[in-house]
Symmetry: C2
Subunit: 545 residues, 2 copies
């Protein structure tokens, strides 16, 4: 009966498909040598106990900063995450059950914040300790404790605590396994960024907030908001109210209030917002409202270097933006400047000649003038690496250089005494969809920098979500899970990050974190797709796709 | 200078790219003949006035059902949507501005609900009227009014009101344009469904809630929850506690409390949850916990027809589910049954012989037994069309037949006196990614049914989001915007739905609705992609991509 044996074979294949993944998935949490907290804390120890967490978990806030609304709000957010499987419904009675109301091991979360200063500067203390002790002998624990110098350290501790809590479907209880836990944690780099481009596609406020929330889950702490580019100018600038006529439409815009709301929303998650105004290139959309910014109506980029109005406008714009963006770093772009429009437009060409400048001289001059404008407003300028590659000595000594073109740039930058942010496009540009997770994971900002005094000049790194093909429908699934790979690199101790056997030492943890993002409503894509953000190839568990 | 003219040409192309979309986008709302409410209300009139809406908008609830928490909660949700551009921040002062606090046209939203009965039956009255009058003469309006017989009608009215409100970036005010509005609205079909498959990929509770919320924006009203299939069994069944051992992993599960929460969440949006238990095929995962359900360990589907345990288990399972799912329709599947496993497994084969049954007889018998079990629990059975195609006369007369294989089935079903749901896979299967929006839009459930008494047997239709390649990362962008095309077909009057020139009469409205979903945080994909849910092909506005 050939059809019979064929059928049996199909059934066997089906059997394997049904069973094997489950074994693997179970294995995810059974690998005791792995710790399912992402990113991995700097120092930690654990035991082999299991503690239950009271659904009536209460917050006990202490210390000079304990009374902060930031802590209370964060506790409420994390409470909803940890207790998303609510058991307080009348349905319980229908099945003859009762909610457990007593006998839990962890009834309080004590959060001690020493400082009441909630200033969010670059390098703000994000360290924390977290202990989840077991009761032993005459211990009266019954609580977990987070201790931090600042509210921002406490926020990181709350995230870690939330990841230790897992819902057990058998007992319908939130459990902390492998207790007791003692964690002392702090980030390796002060700057752990994600670039969001809202010019190639407009991202609504709701989407930006969702992205910020998701960043906090991976302990990323800088939203680099690439607000404006040549395609559209969505931001309101009160002093130059025609600028946002460069938006795609009357609806694809941000008011200053919107921007301010985003900054405050981010701050409540311990996330800086670094705004970018990319000059003099990447600025064609500016001239929709003010055509005098274009060298000519047919040649529109870079911004007209010969016209004082250009710099008056930049100054007025930065004055407006200074009221919205308190973060000390401000990005002035400076990348991909093609000066042909200057040298080919007769009026600008004459101006160059009269100032005895080449196009490159004028580019240098433009960048330096913009730097001084930003500095005069109290900002530290950040520029893309072309500025450093072209005129390293002329950049203001406060400049932070932002790498993107390739490897090996930051070593030169820090050797010259400037600070650097690592975003090598070959590994950390999220719009490069063919870069697999492990290539993102193994990229090392300190590569080629051995001198500890130079290492200090590395602020950190940033993954970049350029928006040409990322709109509100797919931006989150393009960011995640690969941004998480960079986030661990930037947070965790270098010595803790495995360098070999990544499919066993890291991949199960990243699958797990991707699924955690999914349960929190973040559209993180399958981890091991050959092309990022592509669909799962067939039915299966989140824990191995 | 050839490079010069080349550059100019490039600049011109760039100019066109920059300007044309904006003109088009502006045109979206300038086409006065189009009404940007989705789905289109049954009857409406409008004027040419503009009314401002007070950010202090208050709810005035009246009528027997006015005091409902459902209304209050919905008002709060829609308030957040309508006023998402908050202007109450201190940033206003920094720019020398003040919030407008008086002089608004609409200060109150009066919601009158006549009945306090919040029962959510199939065919519940979803009608409402909405008036947004202008002040004229001695009018003292200052309010918009929604009037409905049930809270569910009022919910639909709130959605419509929210779509009339647009944020004007110039005045930073929420406006209702083209006032006064007078709308009388009700759905064309009582059943407007979306199937969600949580077996091929597990969808976390957060994601399911997000989907339910998004359904309410398009006035869809049935979540057909295809909970279980051959790949995984995520649902807890207290009477047979080993069933959810068939889940992909210990975490990819739903407790009965989770399911109940989803039902209640849906109810608060006026959405029914129709659960499905797809028997006897599509049930391999059941046997992970109870292998006796398999004909043999190597031949696992359909469920063993020869074993009383199979029917005892189905009965116990449906008793449990009856406590969770109050909706009167319950889906029993019945599709794609290959009876080889019965006829090839010696034990089952002997049973067939002793009962003088062919495989097909046993399939018929299984479906009918399952129907009687469901009916005995007080449910109306729904079955996929194969049951009707194979034994139309034997089906219980209460059966609702669910079309999927192709066109022309529902006419036969209603002619035989049974009720029908339209889901022709060629047009309304959302996992068919090559079906363009207009093909979804023009599909007509009543096609081939002219007799009004037969038309009444058409409950409506449903778009199906099968989960083989849809997981939490991409399910929303696969559902939207195409589900909206079906939603308008199912809600709006047949006479109002354009049949020609769709790119002018409908497409701008669908673009607009897709962007509206985006601003509400729903990952609706570009409308006109050749392959649904694929990325936008380059930078651009939401309003034409």
């Amino acid at each position: 009966m050939p059809s019979m044996s064929l059928f049996s074979f199909a059934a066997l294949v089906s059997f394997a498909a049904l069973i094997l993944p489950r074994v693997f998935a179970a294995g995810v949490a059974d690998v005791d040598s792995l710790t399912y907290v992402w990113p991995l804390p700097a120092e930690f120890s654990y035991g082999n106990g299991t503690l239950s967490v009271n659904p009536g978990l209460s917050l006990v806030a202490e210390g000079g900063g304990g009374g902060s609304g930031t802590i209370k709000d964060a506790f409420d957010r994390y409470y909803k995450i940890v207790f998303q499987h609510n058991d307080a419904f009348s349905i319980l009675n229908a099945f003859g059950r009762r909610s457990k109301t007593a006998g839990f091991d962890i009834n309080k979360l004590r959060v001690i914040v020493h400082s009441k200063d909630e200033g969010l500067q670059l390098g703000v203390d994000e360290s924390y300790s977290l202990s989840v002790p077991t009761k032993d002998g005459n211990s009266i624990a019954g609580e977990a404790v987070i201790e931090a110098n600042t509210v921002y350290g406490a926020l990181r501790g709350l995230e870690t605590f939330s990841q230790l809590c897992t819902f057990d479907f058998g007992t319908k209880t939130v459990l902390v396994r492998k207790a007791p836990w003692y964690i002392k944690d702090k980030p390796r780099f002060a700057y752990r960024g994600l670039l969001l481009d809202t010019s190639r596609h407009y991202q609504p406020i709701e989407v930006i907030k969702h992205i910020i929330d998701s960043m906090s889950f991976a302990k990323l702490n800088v939203l680099h908001w690439h607000i404006i580019d040549e395609q559209s100018f969505p931001l309101e600038v009160p002093t130059y109210p025609k600028l946002w006529q460069g938006a795609y439409s009357r609806w694809e815009r941000y008011t200053v209030e919107d921007a301010y709301e985003i900054v405050n929303f981010a701050k409540s998650r311990g996330i800086h917002v670094m705004a970018e105004v990319d000059v003099p290139g990447h600025a064609e959309s500016w001239g929709k409202g003010y055509p005098q910014l274009w060298p000519s109506s047919s040649c529109r980029e870079p911004l007209d270097v010969s016209n004082n109005f250009t710099f008056d406008l930049i100054s007025g714009m930065l004055s407006d933006m200074r009221k919205i963006f308190p973060f000390e770093l401000f990005h002035l772009g400076g990348d991909e400047v093609n000066t042909d429009c200057w040298t080919f437009t007769p009026r600008v060409h004459r101006w160059l000649q009269s100032h005895n400048m080449t196009g490159k001289d004028a580019y240098t001059s433009f960048v330096l003038k913009a730097q001084q404008i930003a500095i005069s407003k109290g900002w530290t300028p950040v520029n893309w690496e072309e500025t450093f590659n072209n005129f390293p000595e002329k950049l203001d000594r406060r400049t932070v250089v932002h790498n993107w073109l390739g490897p090996g740039v930051c070593p030169k930058v820090v050797n010259s005494g400037l600070r650097c942010i690592f975003s090598n496009q070959g590994v950390w540009y999220l719009d490069h969809l063919d870069v697999p997770w492990d290539k993102v994971y193994t990229a090392e900002p300190l590569e080629g920098i051995t001198d500890p005094s130079k290492q200090k000049l590395m602020l950190g790194g940033e993954v970049c979500m350029w928006g040409e093909t990322a709109d509100p429908s797919n931006v989150l699934q393009t960011i995640w899970p690969r941004a998480a790979a960079a986030a661990e690199r930037l947070w965790s101790k270098w010595e803790s990050i495995p360098t070999a056997n990544l499919n066993k030492t890291v991949l199960p943890r990243l699958h797990y974190f991707r699924c955690l993002l999914n349960t929190r409503g973040v559209q993180a894509a399958p981890v091991t797709n050959a092309i990022a953000r592509s669909q799962p190839q067939g039915p299966g568990s989140c824990y191995y796709q």
